[in-house]
């Protein structure tokens, strides 16, 4: 019997030195060379049952694109990827691969083996295509099938728009901000997802004929009745409204929501203030970040890059329950972010000028499991202590933005204030109106938002066609 010999570990990838990168906003992970990528592609078994594909929310033909890469047929590899995923350079960088494709990889199930670095290969192929200067634009039918309005230019909206454009629809995206991309533009930092890459992928979607109207707030700049003139509508407005802990001192100067802190830095480029950007951000020396998801990792690492002397993450649960991508957690540790598990802030303390000076915290312990199945953190009596801090960033979650919803009262919402939509099609309670992404699921992931966009594109096509036939 032939013994398959596969290197145990993923082909190492070049990264910026933690000591250096902690002071700049340049991308942390530098990517594979062609030889490294082929070496990593060779670790793929091309197994028949393809568990990775089932683990991918948009079911990319992963063995297929890896095989093409193995054969050094990069155009083919890129073509396969792009036929499933309109934003591969983004997904390769930000998907939680450990709980999706890579989490199911057969190689990863072998004793002492790491899974194939699928995300890094996806990123390699997408970046190769862009740098080759020969980005293939698929044929777009000239005969138009109908007009579709998309509200919100995040991953959900961009995906539904691209897929419908490819089918031959005229698509117009309405985006409230001055830039398209949603969280990819205003939330996820440059050092993890360079904005030039997001812009590149958005330009590709524009090249499919999709029109993007920025500075257009649906419900304010355009009414719902005006939008209803389109053949169908897709809502992908995200879960952008920050929640606050609402503890005493929340409105002190120096207390930020992660949304504001990251928007100032990413969308408004506050890290380049005052020369390349007019938007300031406060520079904390002693920073406390509340929460331990991707948003908290991004906020803490951004604060460090802005020059903080120390950055502490406080989280009311323990390391095991931490929701962040594992790669980001490791990067944060390497860069010197301190983690205080089972700790919860109970008050912010300020000076007589209204500036934050300290965070009062309490120690927690894990009790009985709660509705989410995780053990509920409960405060330990008399365990209060204070941490000196001139900046706090709360990254404890977001809820749905109400601007559109309050202008569209016919839309049925869930008890949590998100849009009720069929998980298979995105169909809402209003005929011809579809929704997907964070506005349906609550804060989730880029790939789930894209997956929802894909499903809705198919459903919208069916709907518009049947409507036109019955006319």
């Amino acid at each position: 019997m032939a013994v398959i010999k596969i290197p145990n570990n993923k082909t190492p990838i070049k990264e910026q030195d933690p000591k250096v990168r902690a002071h700049n906003f340049k991308e942390v992970v530098l990517g594979y060379s062609l030889e490294e990528a082929v070496a990593e592609a060779n670790r793929c078994l091309q197994c028949v049952n393809q568990p990775c594909v089932a683990g991918c929310p948009v079911n990319i033909d992963i063995p297929g694109f890896i095989l093409a890469l193995k054969n050094r047929d990069l155009p083919k590899s890129a073509e396969i990827l792009k036929s499933y995923n309109n934003l591969p350079a983004v997904c390769g960088r930000v998907c939680p691969q450990e709980s999706q494709c890579e989490g199911r990889c057969t190689v990863g199930k072998m004793k002492a083996h790491e899974p194939v670095a699928i995300g890094k290969l996806e990123r390699f192929v997408a970046d190769w295509e862009a740098s080759s200067g020969d980005v293939k634009i698929p044929e777009i039918p000239t005969q138009k099938r109908g007009k579709v309005a998309v509200i919100g230019a995040g991953p959900a909206g961009l995906t539904v728009a691209a897929d419908l454009a490819k089918m031959g629809y005229e698509v117009k995206i309405f985006e409230a901000l001055h830039a398209a991309g949603g969280v990819l533009m205003y939330g996820i930092p440059e050092f993890r997802l360079p904005k030039s890459i997001v812009e590149r992928e958005i330009n590709f979607i524009r090249s499919l004929g999709v029109e993007i109207d920025t500075d257009s707030i649906v419900g304010r700049s355009i009414t719902i009745s005006e939008i209803k003139k389109f053949d169908a509508i897709f809502i992908g407005t995200g879960a952008g409204t920050p929640s606050f802990m609402n503890i005493p001192g929340t409105n002190l100067n120096g207390v930020y929501s992660a949304s504001e802190f990251l928007t100032r830095i990413n969308l408004m480029h506050a890290y380049e203030f005052p020369y390349q950007s007019d938007t300031p951000v406060r520079l904390g020396k002693h920073v406390v970040v509340v929460g331990a998801g991707n948003v908290a990792m991004d906020a803490s690492r951004s604060a460090l890059r802005l020059g903080a002397e120390n950055v502490k993450i406080v989280y009311r649960r323990s390391e095991a329950e931490m929701p962040a991508r594992i790669e980001e957690y490791h990067h944060a540790i390497e860069e010197g972010i301190e983690f205080h598990w089972l700790t919860n802030p109970i008050a912010y303390i300020g000076d007589d000028k209204g500036n934050l000076t300290a965070v009062k915290c309490i120690k927690m312990e894990l009790g009985e499991p709660d509705a989410s199945g995780r053990r509920r953190p409960v405060p330990i009596q008399n365990s209060e202590f204070t941490i000196e801090a001139d900046m706090v960033v709360e990254a404890i979650g977001q809820t749905s933005n109400k601007v559109l919803l309050s202008a569209f009262p016919e839309l049925k919402l869930t008890s949590h204030g998100y849009i009720e939509a069929d998980p298979q099609t995105g169909q809402t309670s209003v005929e011809g109106v579809y929704a997907g992404g964070d506005i349906v699921t609550g804060a989730a992931t880029v790939i789930l938002a894209m997956g929802a966009g894909k499903k809705s594109a198919v459903a919208i096509d069916e709907y518009v066609r049947s409507k036109k036939i019955s006319k």
Partner: protein
Amino acid sequence: MFEITSKEKIATKEYEFWVKAPQVASHAKPGQFVIVRTSQNGERIPLTIADANVETGEIRLIFQAVGKTTYEFATMKVGDSLQDVAGPLGHPSEIKKYGTVLMVGGGVGIAAILPILKALKGVGNRVITILGGRSADLVILKDECERNSDELIVTTDDGSMGMKGVVTDGMKALVKRGEKIDQAWSIGPTIMMKFSAYTAKDLGIPIFVSLNPIMVDGTGMCGACRVTVGKNIRFACVDGPEFDGYEVNWDEVMNRLRQYKDQEKISLENYIAKVGDLSWL
């Protein structure tokens, strides 16, 4: 996009512009604002929609040059274009028949009180307006306010026009002479709104104030604009900008406006170093 079609200097460092923004013009209501960026690397700043012309697709913006962005805007010319104009944002004012309404405007806040005052007059209210300024030349839009009010009172700190004193003196004088006021609005510098709210409370007059916290997106996605009203945190851009003046935590509003003082100074100094003397503005 967003071309400047007219520009006029209306007081020292205060300008009136008409800008092409058809989508905004056709949806704007009194009390709403836009977010403006002057240039590619510009900050997003909120400015009240002082007027809108649906036919020409233009909106009127009136502002005071106080920092980098408003200085840069003030140097722009007819034919130039703003980078972005997004809106209309915020809840419109509640326009209905109250009876007698008292409109208090101070400084550049007069530009924000004007469209509300016109609309209230339009639905049949008796409108008494008090305009306040440090001196006569800073009382902007006086004639236009006068034309749309049943009575106009001007107060100046130095007595160079109208009554010598502040707007709250005008409010007290009105009540003293037996005026019964059903609803008041006060828009101007935060300190003026704070004291007009206190005075209105003493006089038993319900009052709306339009808060002007620092904003970023203006669509409810960041919480930069949060204020405490009663016991609750509210986002001025989507829950306001108008709130019940009795309930606002004024000291907090004023503190939060000082968050970026040092950086704002650097930003303006850099800009002036780049473009040269701007004392003529």
